[in-house]
């Protein structure tokens, strides 16, 4: 396919590398929206998942909320919020956070729930209090799964943030939407491949996060 040739011609055009419509600006916007959405979703999903997983209560509710959020059509949410509050970053955030919360929430919940009861027993038996069990045992042991959920969310967000272009926001989606409207397919291809590249980068970043945050004992045990 000449997809890559088109992409190469497009991306190597110096005009793409400057100005408000250039790649750096839009990439920056894309990363910014995605990071904000992921941070928000993490702030919602991780604490709720930790608490429900730790207490074992609210599991059904958690699953239902996650299921509901997952079933929401993203463009519907986006457009509804645009009508409600006007164009801007807010509708994009609402839509992306709704998209990102389910994997983070469910993985955190399941990660904490999945901690071997024997371990919790041992921790309590040694005199750890509830919050100590949560922070010193359950969180570190659940961390690989939490990171996995965050990575999933991040990739979905990066790929879906393109629809922000539909409501007049920047980001890499502009290349796709504008390119389509103007029949400039190199632009569509370019934008898409930049998104894919960003997703690969996100994967790498989470691989590194895993290396630095997850205790070696857990990583090696998992590799076995």
């Amino acid at each position: 396919m000449n997809l890559f040739l088109e992409f190469w011609l497009w991306i190597s055009d110096p005009a793409q590398w400057s100005g408000g419509a250039g790649i750096p600006t839009r990439l920056g916007q894309h990363v910014l929206y995605s990071a904000q959405a992921l941070a928000l979703a993490t702030l919602i999903g991780v604490p709720v998942g930790l608490v429900t997983g730790h207490t074992g209560r609210g599991g059904f509710l958690t699953a239902s909320i996650a299921n509901f959020a997952r079933a929401l059509p993203t463009i519907g949410v986006l457009m509804l919020v645009v009508i409600a509050v006007g164009i801007g970053v807010a509708p994009v955030m609402v839509a992306l956070v709704a998209l990102a919360v389910p994997p983070i929430l469910v993985n955190t919940y399941e990660g904490v729930r999945g901690v071997d009861p024997q371990l919790k027993d041992a921790a309590q038996g040694m005199g750890m209090r509830g919050h100590e069990v949560l922070l010193k045992l359950e969180l570190p042991v659940a961390l690989p799964l939490i990171l996995l959920g965050m990575r999933t969310a991040a990739i979905q967000v990066v790929s879906t943030a393109t629809i922000a272009a539909y409501v007049g926001i920047g980001g890499l989606g502009r290349f796709i939407v504008d390119g389509q409207a103007r029949r400039e397919f190199d632009m569509v291809v370019g934008g898409s491949l930049l998104v894919v590249a960003l997703a690969v980068l996100v994967t790498l970043m989470f691989y590194l996060l895993r290396r630095f945050l997850v205790a070696p004992g857990l990583r090696q045990a998992a590799a076995k």
Partner: protein, 281 residues
């Protein structure tokens, strides 16, 4: 609806004989016109199928050319520039002649209506007052401070940003691509100061926007005109469509748009009522 069989082949394959497929683009006026055409044809006992809401001209033009769509509400100037981006705009007849010239075999346009829905540059009342704007040319000294907004294609097509530069010497501070559904809102929120809006868009009246006069006739004629796949549309159908064009005026279009977009009446009912009142049912 557009519920075609998912296993149906797309290209070169015309729908079953006798059925006229009416399409429309994905903005309300187009859907309204699509409804009007469809109902007018149905009134003549013609088998009609509808495929409304198709995203862009690029998509539907190919579909008409291949015969998957038979009738489409179009604007003569728009077709002209689509077919020949470098064309110079003229009056209705000149435009239609040029279009007929350029259209490939198998495609033709029928009679144009008087109703026109042109591109425009519009500004808010406040901006107009602030810079004392009445025509596009007035923008020249201040364009560098203003953000222009419109659908993505406006940035690159002749009747868009390049044309504004050539004919009026306008250099805006920035162009913002916006979905056509929210250009007006961006203008209202002052996200942009100059907007590419359609002249029949009811939001102009509703928000007291000021349409700047196109003194250089950049946007040309934009008469509502049915674009058809010749082989799929027989004489009866052509007559029915021409009858619609004969009665359709800009005022009618404005009023009907108002009902659909502002009062949120259903396009098919609005279409039916108008056809009835025009004696076309």
């Amino acid at each position: 609806g557009g519920g075609s069989d998912p296993f149906e082949e797309g290209d070169g394959d015309t729908p079953e004989a006798g059925t006229v497929v009416v399409g429309s683009a994905d903005f309300p006026e187009s859907t309204l016109l699509g409804n009007i055409y469809a109902q007018a044809l149905e009134a003549k006992d013609i088998e009609v199928e509808t495929k409304f809401g198709i995203g862009s001209r690029e998509v539907y033009y190919d579909q008409i050319a291949s015969g998957n769509l038979s009738v489409f509400p179009e604007y003569n100037g728009a077709i002209q520039f689509y077919l020949d981006p470098g064309a110079t705009s003229g009056d209705t007849d000149a435009t239609n002649a040029a279009v007929t010239e350029e259209l490939p075999d198998g495609l033709e346009i029928l009679d144009s209506s008087e109703a026109e829905n042109k591109d425009s540059l519009s500004v808010s009342r406040a901006t107009a007052d602030e810079y004392e704007l009445t025509s596009i040319a007035d923008l020249e000294p201040v364009a560098g401070e203003l953000v222009l907004g419109g659908p993505p294609e406006f940035e690159t097509r002749t009747q868009g940003v390049p044309g504004l530069q050539d004919r009026y010497g306008l250099e805006f501070k920035e162009f913002r691509s916006l979905d056509i559904g929210i250009v007006w809102q961006a203008l209202k929120d002052d996200e942009i100061q100059v907007a590419n809006l359609f002249t029949t868009d009811p939001v102009i009246v509703a928000n007291d926007f000021v349409v700047l006069e196109d003194t250089e006739n950049l946007f040309g004629s934009q008469n509502v005109t049915p674009l058809i796949h010749s082989a799929s549309v027989d004489e009866t159908a052509r007559e029915a469509l021409n009858a619609v064009s004969a009665q359709l005026t800009t005022e009618t279009l404005l009023e009907l748009n108002q009902r659909v977009s502002i009062d949120q009446e259903d396009p098919d009912e609005v279409a039916a009522e108008w056809l009835e009142s025009a004696g076309l049912l």
